[in-house]
Symmetry: C2
Subunit: 620 residues, 2 copies
């Protein structure tokens, strides 16, 4: 799911230009994992355009940190001016420790304060200070100075969402936020995350590809609302009506529209008017610049905002919308897989044409808006590049001899999807040298089932479920270098906080009924194949035999209803329980998606679905 910037410029010349100063280039702008082309500065200087990475350039060195999903891709995209720092491996230093080890005494490290989260600034500044260096804000972004053809910041029209999609009016969301502000005795709330602003106002945009958000800030007072947004976007009739500009509203719900760039001056002006005890609430992941605009004594910081948590717990309108979106998405994938089964043997299907076909089928579905991320369509060795996106230079033809992995999703007006299936169009294992892909597939499936079927007490954090996904792989000495699941937005970002399932534990919030996450263990054999099985699952309450301390129990209900290829399963490795889970899952797929395929008159795809959902049984 690489950030879709324009083509990255060659790295070495840019690095030379940047050596005029040291500069740190984190990927984060306004808390966004996915960014507009104008913000792809790291891709511009390093060549690496994956969705996660930080580049640091000193007089002598240029280094780029990224995680296990991108080790192969980054190594391919960067030239030898760059050192790849593999995060998560034992011997890889942190950015701070590395800086301390390479910098000459008393160095100054520059960073654009608008693109570094304040919590990260604090951490880095502390370590550098301890070693006698200084972290300094560089207000004029040094990359922008040398990036002569930097694109404009997008400013696309807004889309309004009614109650039938959101379940709650934006006025009620603001009122609810004010209750939470009052509980904490907070008089101002600064919203900096783009998806939080979109959720709060029931608005969507398309400033960032695949992410239905728009560049903006918001400041909610006890009786004022300021929305910082550029262009005439709020003047469109439907937006004016949605924001109730012409209705006789109470003052506290009147939205003041302010230019995007005036956030810092406006926020500073607000803060000069504060009384001694007044507090301003802001995420500690807001940029250092915005955070510092609030005097420390007035700042109230927390890792997650109440909006972030409310947004994560989907209401019934949202979760029913997500269900509908996943049914449509499954229809598109049944069509795709049926088409692939017929076309792959002809030797004419490539990774790119398969991805295009997937998009074509999705576009036929109601309320389709966009893909939710660039389709990962990969066959054979490309499958081992976890966030691979096919380009003409790497494009492989799908064949009967290789494992094919497709990780894709869409934005529908009623929900966001994200699904991975791994399949073989010939006979798996016939051509495999290193290890049998069926064996690995089955371990991954066991892990997927272990998470999906897990029952756990209310209040459990997602990281406590991560090992369930890995246990079968661990038993054979295997593993994968990414988390098991992430939160998914409701017609919003496909990666969304604050919940997830990962071995990393930093500040994940407990899972609650209504939250939506992915369950996506994998296994990647470098140079050979990649396997991942991903469903989007809804956290639901479940009844258990007993109920310790009256806490209640939770489990997962799969929203994704796409067959898992049984041909890839080594049934000897399954338990009866796992076999039953799979057959039940396929039964649901057949019933729910079959009905929809029928309704849409997609007979051939329906036949494919029925074939693929035949029950399996253990041999003994």
């Amino acid at each position: 799911m690489a950030a879709s910037s324009g083509k990255p410029a060659g790295a070495s010349g840019e690095v030379r230009k940047l050596r005029q100063a040291e500069v740190n280039l984190p990927r984060v702008t306004q808390l966004s994992e996915y960014i507009a082309p104008c913000d792809c500065r790291r891709a511009f200087v390093s060549g690496f355009d994956g969705s996660a990475g930080t580049a640091i350039i000193t007089e002598q060195h240029a280094a780029m940190w990224t995680d296990g999903r991108y080790f192969l891709q980054a190594a391919k995209q960067m030239d030898n001016n760059w050192t790849l720092m593999k995060m998560g491996l034992k011997d890889t230093p942190t950015q701070e420790d590395w800086l301390v080890s390479v910098l000459p005494e008393g160095s100054r490290v520059g960073v654009d304060p608008l693109i570094i989260p304040s919590d990260q600034w604090k951490k880095m500044a502390k370590v550098l200070r301890g070693a006698g260096h200084h972290l300094v804000p560089v207000k004029e972004n040094l990359v922008d100075k040398i990036w002569t053809d930097r694109p404009q910041r997008p400013c696309k029209p807004l889309l309004t969402l009614g109650l039938d999609y959101t379940g709650v009016a934006w006025k009620d969301k603001v009122a609810d936020l004010r209750v939470k502000m009052a509980e904490r005795k907070v008089v101002w709330f600064v919203v900096t995350a783009l998806d939080e602003i979109a959720w709060l106002f029931n608005l969507r945009g398309s400033d960032v590809e695949h992410n239905p958000v728009f560049f903006s800030y918001a400041i909610i007072g006890t009786d004022t609302i300021r929305l910082f947004i550029d262009g005439d976007r709020t003047k469109a009739p439907d937006v004016k009506e949605h924001l109730l500009f012409n209705s006789s509203l109470a003052d506290e719900f009147k939205v003041q529209v302010v230019p995007y760039k005036s956030i810092l001056t406006e926020l500073k002006a607000i803060c000069t008017g504060l009384s001694t005890k007044d507090k301003v609430w802001i995420s500690d992941k807001a940029s250092y610049a915005v955070s510092e605009a609030i005097p420390k004594e007035h700042r109230c910081c927390m890792p997650y905002t109440p909006i972030c948590i409310s947004k994560a717990v989907k209401n019934s309108t949202e979760s029913e919308g997500m269900r509908r979106a996943h049914i449509k998405d499954a229809v598109a994938l049944c069509e795709l897989f049926n088409w692939l089964e017929k076309e792959v043997p002809k030797g004419t299907v490539t990774e790119i044409s398969a991805a295009d076909k997937a998009e074509e089928f999705r576009r036929q579905q109601a309320d389709f808006v966009d893909l939710s991320f660039p389709t990962i369509s990969s066959t054979g060795p490309n499958g081992a590049i976890i966030h691979y996106s096919p380009v003409p230079e790497t494009n492989r033809t799908l064949s009967l001899n290789e494992v094919y992995l497709i990780d894709s999703g869409a934005q529908y007006k009623d929900g966001t999807t994200d699904v991975t299936r791994t399949m073989h169009f010939g006979t798996p294992s016939a051509y495999e040298k290193v290890k049998p892909s069926k064996e690995c597939f089955t371990y991954v499936l066991k892990g997927h089932i272990a998470v999906s079927a897990a029952i756990f007490p209310t209040g459990t954090k997602g990281h406590l479920l991560d090992s369930f996904a890995r246990s079968a792989l661990w038993d054979s000495g295997l593993d994968y270098l990414h988390g098991t699941g992430h939160g998914v937005g409701s017609f919003l970002n496909v990666h969304e906080g604050p919940c997830g399932i990962s071995y990393k534990t930093f500040s994940d919030e407990p899972l609650e009924a209504g939250m939506i996450v992915t369950d996506e263990p994998g296994y990647y054999e470098d140079g050979s194949f990649g396997i991942r099985i991903e469903n989007v699952v809804l956290v639901v309450s479940t009844k258990t035999k007993y109920n310790f301390n009256n806490r209640g129990s939770l489990t997962f209900d799969p929203l994704t209803l796409v067959p898992i290829q049984t041909k890839m399963i080594d049934v000897d490795l399954l338990t009866q329980k796992e076999c039953d889970w799979l057959n039940d899952y396929h039964k649901t797929c057949r019933e729910v998606i079959g009905k929809e395929l029928q309704k849409q008159g997609r007979q051939e795809a329906l036949e494919w679905l029925i074939r693929e959902t035949n029950p399996i049984s253990l041999r003994h």
Copy 2:
């Protein structure tokens, strides 16, 4: 494992006296979980004498925080002057939040700076400051002022340990520490944890019951060693020889003996002589007073010291010693259980007499020094009090109708043991009202096996294994409110950092081959019974079919070899894999402990062992 203070004084009068000032009374003195009677201040004011708890007294309130192991005990021991704060439950406020909610504006909260860890001070001070209050050090401990018959600080003789017990000479440990100091450019290292000092010098003491440590501090310089210790303890001939006082040592290994109380003045004097860049290394769990004696710019703080981590990874001499200790310990328990089976039907055995008998059998073993904690001997409803210790007022008679739980261990010169077995001397479930104890026992056993048999990659942190222990319980809506395992010292503290297995994630270090932890899931039915199955297990390397990224895999090797009562198992709930694990485990018990019982001529216990280790089989 309650701290064995003298009888706690009645609470209410003491609370009144203390109301002259607000005072916070954490359990920690010098990083010790178990403390000497003179340090049991919280037990003195509150009446609650469990091993974990913090009392806070304000003008209007008195509140005591403890964790799930002690909810029942604390409720019984404290009078209604006190509010019990159940840590870990959703609605229980943190100490800081509670203080903020009850204190009048601009309050001063006093705490003895010698008994609060500096990291805890910082956290509490920050929250209080944010709410307009102040945390202030009260140098004269207010509890001591009203505690007229406060016992003296113990000062018992030292025990020296040779290479056959420690594997590494103290000189080599100091030299190794200095290498780590040089790596971090640190010129002084302050050792504050009692077990770290004992381990570093290969010395043991008996100042704290059940914990073979002695009151002391140490400061290691690049060419000096200062040991802060009272009495003439270092003048005993064996200690003089052990510390090489009379040998012609290089200066950097000469131990300077300094009075215990002079730690603050001596440390301050050292710090006045520091050059600008000199660093002093100290644990951030050292007391605030000692930590603050080092000026901030010279202080180098980390959650775990290199001593703590070296100590946790047992060398082969230590792990072989631990193995021997566990064999002796198993002999004592086979004798005990054989005796109980004969005596319980007579109706003459009580919780106290059973605990005494266990101690009697342990004392017969070579190199026995002490118990490693007060024996938890509990039957029926007392079993649900997780850290119960029988006293005459609560003492129950063991019967054929109740579940009996015994959690006990010993200090031998070659190792520390800690084992829990749960058994029934009649027919389980015949008299059970709420839920079948056999069913619960089997879920606990499944959890125990899931952890013990887990295979996981090198570098895995213990908290990632915790859910394996709970999964079978969770499936039925059950759980337990304590961690699954803790580190165990080598003839040192029975609870030892930095590794463990818990749903709590704070700063546990990755498990490494050579580390020793417990595996002790449980289930507690308030008012009815308690179940826990605990082994001490050694982390060992293991071969797997594949070896992803060449990381290597680890698993656990049980050091505890005591039969698990098969009568308590509902075999219908076991998988074949679990059944095989149990039979293998019992086979090892029979072979290893059988041989030792034979050697010690304990025929009757041997027959009991053989009976109890008969293989079981699944019904189908």
